[in-house]
């Protein structure tokens, strides 16, 4: 069966520090991978999506970047965090069929 792992579950980082959130998928190949963010008072916002290794599309200009070094690995990064980067980050995957499977999420607090 397919599973998706996202870590860490919670993270508190100082302003200006780097960020690396990792997401891996098991039990499937060539998934479409996504990073979403749910900031306070807002709905889920698509940040990046990837349809293959090294293929990253950015939906919203921001302080973050994403990389897909392996087929089932998706990494969300930042060189210098801002206070506004605080939020709940979700990784998701899709086989191209209907529906998505989300990871358990990462609660990021930038202090």
């Amino acid at each position: 069966s397919q599973t998706i792992h996202q870590w860490p579950a919670t993270l508190v980082q100082p302003v200006g520090s780097p960020l690396s959130l990792e997401c891996t998928v098991e039990g499937t190949s060539n998934p479409n991978l996504y990073w979403y963010r749910q900031a306070a008072g807002r709905g889920l916002q698509l940040l990046f999506y990837s349809v293959g290794i090294g293929q990253i599309s950015s939906e919203v200009p921001q302080n973050l970047s994403a990389s897909r070094p392996q087929d089932r690995q998706f990494i969300l990064s930042s060189k210098k965090l801002l206070l506004s980067d605080s939020g709940f980050y979700l990784c998701a995957w899709s086989s191209g069929a209907w529906g998505y499977t989300f990871g358990s999420g990462t609660r990021l607090t930038v202090v």
Binding site: R42, L44, L46, G105
Partner: protein
């Protein structure tokens, strides 16, 4: 500009009664609509979906209705149960498989 709108941030319904969650969208190119349920500190989980070629889809206590002319869909939960208390996200997708979420509606089932 929000393409998927859930105008009610919260809803309270008596246990055993019908819960109706509403969603409006602006993009006529959306061809698939989904509802997700989210408990606190967890990622959203897929609940039910509907293709744009249909106007109704039923799964147990959950029914989704789609009115394309009005660009409106709704989720009906009958009968409502305490475990239904959660945040419900409406989402929509185009052919490229990206999904756009609404801000969510928090449903509270009253005993």
């Amino acid at each position: 500009d929000q393409q998927v709108k859930q105008n009610s941030p919260s809803l309270s319904v008596q246990e055993g009664r019908i819960s109706i969650l509403n969603c409006d969208y602006t993009n006529s190119m959306f061809d698939y609509f989904l509802w997700y349920k989210k408990y606190p500190a967890e990622g959203p989980t897929f609940l039910i979906s509907i293709s744009s070629i249909k106007d109704k889809n039923e799964d147990g206590r959950f029914t989704v209705f789609l009115n394309k002319s009005a660009k409106h869909l709704s989720l009906h939960i009958v009968p409502s149960q305490p475990g239904d208390s959660a945040v419900y996200f409406c989402a929509a997708s185009e052919e490229d498989d990206k999904i756009i979420f609404g801000k969510g509606t928090r449903l509270h089932i009253l005993p």
